[in-house]
Symmetry: C2
Subunit: 452 residues, 2 copies
Amino acid sequence: MTTYLLERAWVDGRVLDDVLVEIDGGRFTSVTSVGSTRDSRRFSGVATAEKRGNTRLTGDPNDATPLPGLTIPGLANCHSHAFHRALRGRTQRDRGTFWTWRDQMYDVAARLDPDTYLELATATYREMAAAGITCVGEFHYLHHQPDGTPYDDPNAMGKVLIEAARRAGIRITLLDTCYLSSGFGKPPEGPQVRFSDGDVDAWVDRVNAIGPWEHAHIGGAYHSVRAVPLNQMKRYTTAPLHIHLSEQVAENDACLAEYGLTPTQVFAEAGHLTENNTLVHATHLTDDDIRLIGETRTYSCFCPTTERDLGDGVGPSRELHDAGSRLTLGSDSHAVIDLFEEMRAVELDERLATQQRGHWDAAELLEAGTRHDSLGWADAGRIAVGARADLVTIATDSVRTAGTGADEQTAVFAAVAEDVIQVVADGHVVFRADDRAQLGRDLEAVIGRLWR
Amino acid sequence: MTTYLLERAWVDGRVLDDVLVEIDGGRFTSVTSVGSTRDSRRFSGVATAEKRGNTRLTGDPNDATPLPGLTIPGLANCHSHAFHRALRGRTQRDRGTFWTWRDQMYDVAARLDPDTYLELATATYREMAAAGITCVGEFHYLHHQPDGTPYDDPNAMGKVLIEAARRAGIRITLLDTCYLSSGFGKPPEGPQVRFSDGDVDAWVDRVNAIGPWEHAHIGGAYHSVRAVPLNQMKRYTTAPLHIHLSEQVAENDACLAEYGLTPTQVFAEAGHLTENNTLVHATHLTDDDIRLIGETRTYSCFCPTTERDLGDGVGPSRELHDAGSRLTLGSDSHAVIDLFEEMRAVELDERLATQQRGHWDAAELLEAGTRHDSLGWADAGRIAVGARADLVTIATDSVRTAGTGADEQTAVFAAVAEDVIQVVADGHVVFRADDRAQLGRDLEAVIGRLWR
């Protein structure tokens, strides 16, 4: 058993001082507020020391490992393309659009094989762990050899990602992605032959052969309404199921021309608007789309730093929430891997779009950033008895965070990834601040080899 | 004399490897590319080693202090209100607007006296130095005692800011600010009595009594068209002269109602649209405003992280540039002190507004971030013989920057303030990475005392 004494912690929607947590078998076995604090009253799932009676508290605060700073639950990065990390800082030279950026992204995709992807994904997931991310949803479509032939193990690339997460010490939900067409009615072109299984049956057969792991769930994704025809998309579902949706106006236009339906209506028609599934981006929606998404409680995964980088626009995050959708966050293209930045960007971009402040408060954004259930890990993302023991500790006296009050506003509106000083995932320490310099050098070496 | 060997450096608009710089009397006395590099040819103001002939190079690369990483000129923070640093992370609780935020800002203003402001501004300027900022333009209006009575020295507060910059090791341009009215035709209210000199003559008399300093220029500012009547604004000018302009639509509307003119037209009518002067924000402009600003080559100072935070909107940065205005940058309210973030935010917010990429390239944004002339320091902001010796060195193998190519895209699109590993200002080392942890603790102590 491991015992930590958290100086301040985000527990059940508020900040408490002096929280003792006991961890056994990778889960919290007790969570107790022991301090004479301004907020030490008993609340759901947590006992104060003087009232602990029948809780399972066995540790002594004096024996616990103290964690100074503000500790929050593990962050969930719900939308990742690991290999995009190699593009950071390399796509900013010329004018262009989402579509010209995509050509550069395909250039990296063409360079990878299972060995180099294992190296790159391991370094990328270690960067995530260092940023307080304890679980990644990997939207994975780089399945086959450069000429489209499957590897000897047709799941070689997917297994590389699962192994990379294991090495980084974080959980993964492999969202194995079905990608069949370059556009509406067009076969895969160029690097896209690596993505395609030919038809949805072959995709399902391949995915079903990926074995179970302790730290990995297998989910599915339809890449987009342009990459999977509606009649194919209708045939299979899985949970969780993700899709890129309405990131670009051009996709909406082409979809309307093909089906007379918006991408949201296509996904609904296929039967996939459900409370287990996630729409990634959801940027350009009609009022009717928002109503449909909200009624079905489908998740909306926003990736604001990528949406800025690619010039996607500002999606209706608050309207989706108010309609019933639950917000999740992803670092997507990894131009930035920093969920603190993603959390505040949701609010800040909404301010730019509306010239009003206060659409989302820090508590709501912290809930979005730590929400693991859209990846199939409903037992994570809270500091509570029985939950998976993830702890992300942020310095509250760094240059960024000093003077900001050491509360949820500090985490959401001031901190950066560099303020993370320790990360525990499933009970194990997977990052300490002292590891940061070596991780930088490792990333430089791995990405340097790729571009050489 | 001090000699540095820069592993990579941004010199005259490009990145060079192995640049030897000699510094004497606070200025560069030689700048020489000594490496067998991909870009070691001779160019303006710089000699390669083998051609150095009549340059004043006297140092031996083997005796130089090596600076690994990417070194850029000093960054200029052209719009600062130092005391706003105490608000970081404390204004995000409720719904509201720019105007409700302003009430919270006034609450901090009311707490400060010369002693506490010296502490706070020193810590804030040290945070700037740690972020690679070697010069600050301080838009200073907190002049008098809480009841509006001048201090025994009527410039006590301004002198505190000049002393704070000295202690932090950076240059300052004190933009002493004239603030006469709460709104069009309204006297100062509440905390605003600390800001007002009564009339423009009294303001000029006070400012003229601030003495000269080695590291400080004295400039002026009219707070805004709402705070200074046009007939007063017409009577005096100084250089540089700054003004908050068209940050909020409500200000534009009130200005049109009062004068039948936009704020830009008012400032033009007063005779202040000139190539020495700066319009801060310049967010909500007409096409005619943009033409006027461009024709007169007036600077536009954008503060994107503050403009996000306050929901100001996205100003027409590229249109202003294309019309002839020169872009500068400021961290303004210090919700963030990170000019790397400000540089990229200009481009990223323009992408959100237009759904296109590539409005500004990294070289242009780096030029904006290092542009010192709008603060009256035309001899700074370049690594060149005769220029003030400012050197900001960024790690190129940090978790953020690794793999990004160690060039201007690294600085503008990947780095954060935490990647700064050494800062030289006017020839003196004013920050090393090892100082960062103590600086955080000092900020926490100073701001903590203020809120207690």
